[in-house]
Structures are given as structure tokens and as C-alpha cells.
Symmetry: C2
Subunit: 469 residues, 2 copies
């Protein structure tokens, strides 16, 4: 083990104020990739990030794409050392609804959380700027300690993660040689709980589509024509109602083909995790607490979130949605529908089954349209690689507690991309907390997550280097 | 019969140019009652209208309300003559979407219709300015012919019909003595077809409510939580799907109590009307023509529109509705639902049944809210009053064709108000056409409707006077 690690950790300890100021600067960029008016902020944020990485001793470039730029950075690579590709994203979700925020989404504010801890509140605090920042600080500390990083690092930070990483696959494929590495590290997930770090060894896949049923060119007066013209909102309700049965199972043809129940030892390990449904429900602000938890019969809440496929309606729009009454038959009705997939499911087969379902459930007289937005398979990573052991130790020392091995229900398409395009396994070590509210108002990142994550990242570089010795 | 009627009709014939110029002036006022920036235009339009009525020999006032002003006008009343309350509205719908108009909505344009007739295009042309204007012209002609109107007239023109006539009930109740009349005349409906004038003898009632199901305080990430938290949009879809059964019947408890099928002679009379479903479907821009026509089994399209109760979803909102994908479980899902009622149905019972239905169909774990926006009963008018005979003859001579007796599916709350508050039956004689596109872009009023309506109004005053002799 390098004798520099204590100095690195010491540097981190004594430079927290500067680290926090830097994170605030990072969070002030309204780098909303989905918003066309934010183009200038995206470039500015990428350039700023590149300068931070230069200060940490890396050589950097801001690579143009047909969308938002990608920040690339390399330290001085040396033969015989392992190479880590560190992926993250500097773009953030739109801050809407803005008036639900306690402080402005792009004016970071440090204050107490409801749990009594200190946190920094801003859009992107947890997803993913705070987590990137932990790595940038760790790299800065290794540089400050003299001699630079103990491993070869490739930093790849994109600006389109929140808009489907539209231009990343082409970029990665076009830069295969430069991006050649031994393992990928991604910090864009959560600890299992406050004080319980976690490594994610499985992610669900995603199929996402939008169905639109149209009855007329324009909305029609529901008094004059009501009862005589097929109402597309009623037809859509019947279609959507049929997607999930009373036991919470998805009714698409062949949806469960290839899906297995979790193994007994896995179920046991997860059942032993300290997970309180009431606390979970409370943290989500559920309308009726744990009574609002519901899903496929026969599985626990964690199993439903992590290893069971599911269907959600993510949005519905039809007709008049303002205050009061407007008496119309909507011209059309539309719904956005997502399917989370698990190991064994083929996204393209699910997509086709959804389209068949929609066409089979559209009543006569309506025109139907189906748009497809995503199709990614589930991912599972090996639990006994040397990298995994390094990650376990890094988090253990970083957070002072042994990490648990969990799944996550969400989809991180880049994990699949890095495997497919570069042959890389990903270490999913994230520092967020379940109550961080990414994608929602009042997103935050606990300072405990920031400092624990920074230490863990510094450790990780060391332990990956050591695993290779 | 007055020997002045020929002179009145002659005056109308020879003063068409002035009448059209006046209507253009009327249509140039952007009297959009729903738009707060139009307040000045509302007052200006009301004052202008009062001046036109003064020129027709009436004494007028513009009465303030807590909303937009009401124009009141009276001719010199004489004992022993019948008194007619003429109701109309000078406010109009918003012109949105403005860029769908061929010419600007408040710059009236006279041009050919797709049917080859001449028409004046502007917001409010048919609904209701053109129809009011026919009466103003008829009154002007009676004044010009010397001796004034042969009946007592009370003109009541409100400026809030398109925004639920918010302040009209209080005004009417506070002015009962001054508004005492024998019958009301309302010209705010349509001919059955071009060349086929109509008298509406029945209107459907309305119950309108909004149901909101809430799962969480904010939208949740559907990857992290999907499958474990009840999705309110799925629950709403199941609730709405259950509102109408496969035969198109509404499933609320007791919904059809008191509802009778139309009488055989009425069904026969309506079946004999020249009504082409393909033309109707085409005029509405239906996605798949007549195949998009659907409704309660066992009834014709006209019966479904006129005398069968029905349920429509007028709007649905949940979660993300922008372009592309956003993976959330919506915090809440909400739908606006209208029920059109027919004779025999009690709006308050239907409202209560809807609320019971919603609460009975809300799954555990969601909070439910129901807002109510309207509750008006169906209206039917007597077909053999002396007023009705006068109206039939007036339209017959005005349009050169005997009017048909029809129903309309929509609700005109003022009809119920005038009955409830003043004990008045309403004669619903409208001059519009089914292709006038009220509430939509390119609203128009055929010049044939204007001249036929003007003649009919002039005749009506005479025949009502004669019926009383």
C-alpha cells in the first residue's frame, strides 16, 4: 500500500471548506440538458469542470458532440498500472416545479435535513454533481500529496445522461482505443441507508413508450357531441387499466418469459437488511404511509424494487387540464408507459409485446400511435472480481461500515454501453442517500455523503492499484 | 296582424349593408370574458351595444356587476301586450389557437364558406353576436317603420356566458320585478341544417366533477420505486375504465333511474330528419370518419346526442407530459368528468353517485379528492304554447322552410335560471349552422343565417303580439 494515502486523507480533511465552495460553484451552473435555452450553460459547465480536472493534474479536453459536450481527462498513464474509466454526468434534471423548492434550485444552500444531518440543497447535488465532485476532490488530494494518482485514470463526464445519453454511444464507439480500460467506476447510486454504504450488483432494464389515441382533429363540445363520438380518454383508460392485473402483474404477452424469482440465499440476505417500510414510506411522502406500498403479490418491497419487472404509467395527458370545467371531448389522449425489466427479459420483445397490446386494445374508430423512447436490458455484475474487493474495502474505510451488496431498480444505460462497446464491467459505488430526492424538488446531498464519498474515492484508487501489485 | 310588418321586412331588405357594417363593428370588440386583459374591451362593447339599442328606440342601461357589465334595455311598455325577455351574451370564447385562423379573429372577414355560401368570419360571429345582432336589426326596423315594437321587450345581454355566467343569477334574483315577462327568447342555438330552421325543445343537463388520486407529495423515480409504490395513474385508469361499460352505459348506481327512452313518435320524427352520419363525422374531423361514432347501444346518433345521458372524460392529467421520456411515478393523477343528464335525472343524486363511485373505486393507499363544478338539470319546453306557435310561424316565414323540433345535447344554464328565478319558459330559436365552429378557430356566421334570423326575429315580435290579441 502506498504510504501516501494518509497524507491524501489528511489533505481531504483539512480542505473541506474549499471543496464545498467548489461544489457550490459546480451546482450554480443550470446545466439542464433537456432545456434548449441552457446550451450556453452546458458548455460553460463543461469548461469549468475541465479546469478543475486540470488543477488536479489531469490533461483534459472538452469534446464536441452533436449534443452537449463531453469532458475527457487523463492522468499521466504508466504501463503496468490498472486503468480505471471513471464515468459521470454534469447535466441535471429540469428543476420543475420550481415553486416547490425551499431555496432556488441553482443557488446551493447548506442546511439541516429533516434527519438532522447537514446537506447541500440544489438541483444536481446528488445526481450527479456531488458524486463527481467527490472523485475530483480525491484526485486533487492525490495530486497535492505529490506524485499524482497511483492508477491510470480516464475521466468521461457527459452532458446528456438525463436526456438518454443521445450522443454517448457514437462517441464511445469512435474512441474505443483511447477509452481502453480495465474497469469502469460509476458513482451515481445510493448508500443503502445513512451509515450503510452499498455496492450495486444489479440494475433493472427499461422499455419506455408512449401511446396516443386520437378521435378528432380538435377537441369537440361534449354537450353537442357527447355520447355520439368515441371518447379517446375513456378508451385510453380502458387500455391502461388492462396493462396490470389485480395481483399487480403485467399482462403483456410473454412478459414473464425468462424471469426467475430471486434465489433463496439472496432473498434471505435482503430480508436481513435493516429496511423499515414505514420509514421508507415516510421518506417518500406517501399519501397514506406504508399503505401506499403495493405491487406484485408474493414479493417483498425490496424484491419488487430490485428484481421484479414492473409497469408504471409515467404521464397521461388529455383534453382540458386547467382550473374548473371545460366541456370537451378531447381530440386525443396520450400516456407514457415504462416497463422495468430484469435478467432474462429481452427489451425488444417487450417493446413489441407492448405495441401489440396497444393495437389489440384500441377500439374501432380511433387512430393509434406508439412512440418508443428506450430499450435497455437489465445488468448484473460479478461479485468476486479483484475490483469488487477493492471497492468493498474503499467504502468500508471511507464510511466506517462494511458495504452491503444490493440491486437497484433503476436503469443506468451507460453500464450496458460500456460492457457492449468496451467490454468493461462497472463498479457501481454511489454515495447518495435514499432521501436525496434526485429528479424532485429540494434535491440534496448530505455533507456526510460528500466527505465519505471523497474518502472512499481516494481509497479506491489506492486499493485498485494495490490489487494489481 | 299589424299592417306594419311588410314595411319592417322591406326596411330589413334595403338596409343590409348598414346591418353588416354594424355587425362588423360589434365583432371587432375582443370581448373575451375569460381574459383578464380584456376588461376594457368588455365595457366598451357593452356601452356600444347599449347605444345601438337606444338607436332602436329602447331606453338602456349598462349595469355593473362584480364581473363584466350587463346590458339592459326596455322599450315603452304598454299594458295588455305580452312581454318578451330577450336574452343573449356579448362575450366570446378566447380565440386560441390564434394561428389556426385564416383571418384574424377580431377582424371580421366576409368570404365564401366551403359550402359555397357567403359568411362573416370572426370570433363570436355565431356565438352569440351575430344572433343578437339579428334581433337588434329587427328592433331597429320596427322603430324605423314608425310606432315601435308591437310587444313589450326586455333585453338582457350578459358578458359572462362563456365563463359560467358567474354574476347573472344574483343579478336576475335582485331584479325580479323589472325582469317580469311572459316568455323568454334565446337565440344562441343552431338551425338543424342549412335551410332547415329548428326550435330546440329540450336540452341536456350537466354534472361535472374532478377526481384526483394522490400517492405521494412529489413525483417519484419510477426506476428506484417502481413496482413498490401504488401508481395513481394506473389506479385512475382503472377507476375511469369502470365508469362506462362495454355497451356504452354509465355504471353509476341509479344513473338511469327515471330515464325513459324517447317516445316512438319522437324517434320516428327524428329518424326522418335528413342527417348523414358520414357528413357529420367529416364536419367534426373524426379520425376514422363515421367509424369514430360510438355510444350507448340501441340508440341512433341523434338520440345519443339529444336524449340519452352520457359520461365523458373531458381532461386527464398525470405526471410528465412533455416530449420524450421521464421515468416517474406521478405524485397524483386527476381527471375531469362530465355527465350529460336527461329528463328524469336529478343532478344532485348523480353528483352523489359519482362521489360514491370514486370513493368505492379508489384502491387502498391513495388519498382521493372530488371537486364539483356544475349541476344543472335537463330542460324540456312545451311544444304547444301560443309562444311556440308564434315561433314556428316566425321561422317558417323567416327562412322559407318549416322549422323542425329538435333537442340539443348541450346545457344552457340560463334556461334553467330563467325558469327557476322568473318562472319563464324559453323559446330557443337560434339561427346558427352546425358548421359555424363556435369555440373553435374560423368561427363564422352565414349571411343567410343573419338575414333569415333578422326576418324571423321581426316576424316573431309580430306573431307573439298577434297571439295575444
Amino acid at each position: 500500500m502506498s504510504d501516501r494515502l494518509p497524507a491524501v486523507l489528511d489533505f481531504l480533511e483539512t480542505h473541506r471548506e474549499a471543496a464545498l465552495l467548489g461544489l457550490k460553484d459546480f451546482l450554480r451552473f443550470p446545466s439542464v440538458s433537456a432545456d434548449p435555452v441552457c446550451g450556453g450553460h452546458m458548455s460553460a459547465c463543461a469548461e469549468w469542470l475541465a479546469r478543475q480536472l486540470q488543477a488536479a493534474g489531469l490533461s483534459t479536453e472538452v469534446a464536441d458532440t452533436d449534443g452537449h459536450p463531453i469532458v475527457l481527462a487523463f492522468n499521466q498513464h504508466r504501463a503496468g498500472r490498472p486503468t480505471v474509466l471513471l464515468y459521470g454526468h454534469y447535466d441535471v434534471q429540469p428543476p420543475d416545479p420550481v415553486n416547490a423548492w425551499t431555496t432556488r434550485p441553482f443557488e446551493p444552500d447548506v442546511r439541516k435535513t429533516p434527519a438532522g444531518t447537514d446537506a447541500i440543497y440544489a438541483r444536481g447535488a446528488a445526481d450527479d454533481k456531488g458524486q463527481i465532485w467527490a472523485h475530483v476532490q480525491a484526485m486533487t488530494a492525490w495530486e497535492a500529496a505529490g506524485g499524482g494518482l497511483p492508477i491510470n485514470v480516464i475521466v468521461l463526464l457527459e452532458g446528456e445522461e438525463e436526456v438518454d445519453s443521445h450522443h454517448l454511444p457514437d462517441f464511445v464507439n469512435a474512441n474505443r482505443a483511447r477509452l481502453k480500460a480495465d474497469v469502469a467506476v460509476i458513482s451515481d447510486t445510493n448508500c443503502f441507508a445513512r451509515g450503510v454504504p452499498a455496492i450495486v450488483t444489479g440494475l433493472r432494464g427499461l422499455v419506455y413508450g408512449q401511446v396516443t389515441l386520437r378521435a378528432a382533429a380538435n377537441d369537440l363540445h361534449s354537450g353537442i357531441h357527447g355520447g355520439a363520438v368515441r371518447n379517446p380518454a375513456i378508451a385510453l383508460a380502458k387500455l391502461l387499466a388492462a396493462l396490470v392485473d389485480e395481483s399487480g402483474r403485467v399482462t403483456l404477452d410473454g412478459f414473464y418469459d425468462g424471469v426467475h424469482s430471486p434465489a433463496d440465499d439472496q432473498r434471505k440476505a435482503w430480508a436481513s437488511l435493516s429496511f423499515d417500510e414505514s420509514n421508507y414510506a415516510e421518506s417518500l411522502g406517501l399519501a397514506q404511509g406504508a399503505a401506499t406500498l403495493a405491487g406484485e403479490a408474493g414479493f417483498s418491497t425490496l424484491e419488487r424494487r430490485w428484481v421484479r419487472p414492473t409497469c408504471d404509467i409515467c404521464g397521461v395527458t388529455a383534453g382540458y387540464q386547467g382550473p374548473g370545467a371545460k366541456t370537451i371531448i378531447p381530440a386525443y389522449a396520450s400516456a407514457k408507459v415504462s416497463f422495468r425489466l430484469v435478467a432474462g427479459q429481452d427489451p425488444l420483445k417487450v417493446r413489441a409485446a407492448f405495441e401489440d397490446f396497444v393495437r389489440g386494445h384500441c377500439p374501432p374508430g380511433l387512430s393509434v400511435n406508439v412512440d418508443h423512447f428506450a430499450a435497455a436490458p437489465a445488468v448484473q455484475t460479478s461479485q468476486d472480481s479483484p475490483w469488487m474487493k477493492a471497492a468493498i474495502n474503499a467504502l468500508h474505510l471511507g464510511f466506517g461500515a462494511r458495504p452491503v451488496m444490493i440491486h437497484e431498480g433503476l436503469t443506468i444505460p451507460v453500464v450496458h454501453l460500456l460492457k457492449r462497446s468496451l467490454g468493461l464491467d462497472s463498479l457501481l459505488i454511489g454515495f447518495g442517500l435514499p432521501d436525496d430526492a434526485p429528479h424532485a424538488p429540494n434535491e440534496k446531498f448530505d455533507l456526510g455523503s460528500l466527505w465519505g464519498g471523497t474518502r472512499s474515492a481516494a481509497n479506491l484508487y489506492e486499493f485498485i492499484a494495490a490489487s494489481h501489485d
